[in-house]
Amino acid sequence: MSIHRITLTVNGEVDQVDVASNVTLLRLLREKLALTGTKNGCMAGECGACTVMLNGEPVNSCMVLAAECDGAHVLTVEGLAHDGVLDPVQQAIVDHGAIQCGFCTPGILISARALLDRNPKPSDAEIREAIVGNLCRCTGYLRIVDAIQDAAHRQEVLLQEAII
């Protein structure tokens, strides 16, 4: 098994790591970079718990080889809040009580962030579609959908305030 030296930016910080060719991005994050917020739910790309943003796109990190990530920008749940201030999607999930066990939450947050980055005013159907790959067994999704809708509004308000 060959070893690859890669350089990648995770949550704004540049890391250089040696990874075996069969190691997934999920394992790299959890086992080498100690970023355990990203969860392992199926190792088969079917549950969405390991969703991270790779170069701005949401991906199942269990389906991406770490060696392919040389030069990549990765955003995980740990990178959403800044200086103790939660991202609007995090704050909305908290305020809507859209959390129970919390195991799917990191993946949902990343899918939601990716959605709002490309579509700041999503419809209910677009939100449901954006998180259709993130399985949640506890909440029934309704509060999550409401929270993401609310996050879109909050984000708009924040942007307007920033412009003013």
């Binding site: 100690a34 917020g37 088969a44 066990c101 919390g102 998180i131 067994r137 029934g140």
Partner: protein, 785 residues
Amino acid sequence: MVISDAAAEKVPHPIGESVRRVDAYEKVTGAAQFADDLQFGPGLLFARIKRSPIPHGRILRIDTSKARALPGVKAVITGKDFPGHIGLYLKDRYIFCRDKVRYVGDPVAGVAAISEEIAEKALDLIEVEYLPLPAVFDPEYGVTSEAPILHPDLGDYSVVNFVFPKPGTNISNHFKIRKGDVHAAWGSCAAVIERTYHIPHIQHVPIEPHVAVAKMEENGKLKVWASSQSPFAQRSLIASALDISPSDVEVVAPFVGGGFGCKAGLSMEALAVAIATRVKGRPVKLRLTREEEFYTAFVRQGLVAHFKMGCDSEGRLLAMENRFYWDGGAYTEYGVNITRASGYSSSGPYDVPNVRTDSYCVYTNHPVGGPMRGFGMPEMHAGLEQCIDELAAQIGMDPVRFRKINCVQGGDILVTGMTMHPTGLSQCLEKAAEAIGWGYKDPPSATNKRRGKGIAMMWKAPAMPPNAGSSAWVELNEDGTVTVSVGGQEIGQGSFTVAAQMAAAALGVPYDWVRVAGPVDTDHSPYEWQTVASRLTWSMGNAVYNAGRDARHQILEMVAQAWGEKPEDLDISNGMVISYKTEESQSLKNIVVYGIPKPNDQGWTGGPIVGRGNFMPTYVTGLDPETGQGPRAVVHYTTGAQAVEVEVDLDTGKVEVLRGVAAFDVGKAINPDMVKAQIEGGFVQGVSTALFEELKLKEGVLQNSSFVDYRIATSADAPQEVEAIIVEVAQDDGPFGARGIGEHALVPTTPAIANAIFDAVGIRPGAPPFTSEKVYLAMREAGVE
């Protein structure tokens, strides 16, 4: 909407307030730790399990020599190393198989290695030779005399005194109800209906798979870190299996990423423990793969349910005769109590004078049955609540009215002879019917679709030993803030938040002053039986409240002494001690740890404040083994009703749940928003089980062990709206009148959907899942166009 009979009664802050979850911030930032997130350093070993590929057979030979020789392998163990039995209610399980395998997936050997990959490779090098034996795949066949006996030693297994195995058969529990005279009653019935339902096995599917890490020290002390609903029960069962003291076992249980029952009792954790005993000083981690999760973790048992029920011409239920054959699987250590629970609740939430029930737990060569959200109630209500609709139709009565006439009320003599406590079931029924717009039909969204509405009721009691206990500590910190310690687990249901609310209310401090100590650790947390049965808000809530009152009492005694007043003239409000007599006040800050100085430097009064509290029901009695009768079968019943509106596609058979309404009597909603979240989440899980879920077992082999093949509801399947209605009829021994609400939310969903499908297209889909294919074929057969 909250409907309460105690609206005028004042409750202290923050009871009845929808305060934010205590664990919300950690869970949105990735900081919340789950078992797989804990770090163990380079000494960590990884375990994998060699499992039986056949459903029933004798082990002729196991050769582990090649696996042992593989570099990186540290231990290979088999059943011959561990003779002790495990099991919660009936000790019918070995940690590793010894002489026989009884299901596909039964563990025959375990490997510990320096990586998961090497451990996996080692499994292939273990040679096992089996002699296949005839198997049982149907519980009704399993009880016949032709069936092979799967547990010839059943008579030797140790068992609790409320479970009744029948040695020499495959019946590991037979629970009977004999109330009134069913046979005499049939003659008085104007309508009688008989139906059979085959309820499939399903899986819990928490998004977090099972994880356990075990480490045994050279001196025999054992530490386990696990994704667990039951750290204390696991401590006890592990100690008993290894023949060591529970005090030499420490179980640490961080946040649980969904449990729904499958992480209760002791299952795969025992495998990690057994392996760890052979590599002392090294932590050993076992993670179930998602595939293993589907067929080796507890499954929800299959059920073959025969119902016969009859009513008079006025619609009064006169008799019920039920036979339940539970497909308990290869080991029924936990399932025996599901058999019992469904027996003592077998009338459903109805007042029925004559009931005869036989509930059998039957060994089969299927995956191991265990507790799942609802504990037998969803399976039983799925058929029972469809029969009620059919019976009402036979006498030409509206199903809501039929339920109204027959629903159980306070003072009724229940199926076990117990007297029902006050309950708001009829209010739940009325409110659910009203909210769904019962009797009105909206036009379908397209010409090839049909709309329908359906309703169903439910009841469920916590199923547990009569003396399941809780305890709690409430400690004050230097600045007056409060740390609560509990042994009950946070599995997503919000138990830590409820604990914080109880402590704040009992003490008289603001909610945001309270922290909950985690993770639960049997060496550092107070005892809790298990986080199951929707019992924590009620039982643990009482313990926390009592601990808070104990701490409050200590504070008031101290201040009274310092001020020369009587404690009864003092109060704590918003974190201040106040005197109603002198109007003096004092912040809790400083005094609750350091005490209060006496005047003129003459010493000190008080000391660090630590409150302790416990709770255990003491009134539950045994039931007669022949009649199932006794004064008090259970602690209480949570009741409720659900109504749904569905749309059925005539071209495809696809059922879409448009809207759900759920009303439950929770006694008192400690946190109304979290109650609603439980109801919504449970409803959608109910929709998922009703429409999609079934473990497809073929000769004991699971055919659909992935999320692709075993579909659960996604965001696209959730209805547009779920309305939760809270009814509050107080529980006499609940904290502030509270009863549990957790499992209940999915119990009536399946029959409500089935009844709505009938209302829409006139076919009865029978047993779930109501897949497009099943509904389409049923419509074809019935000539629905």
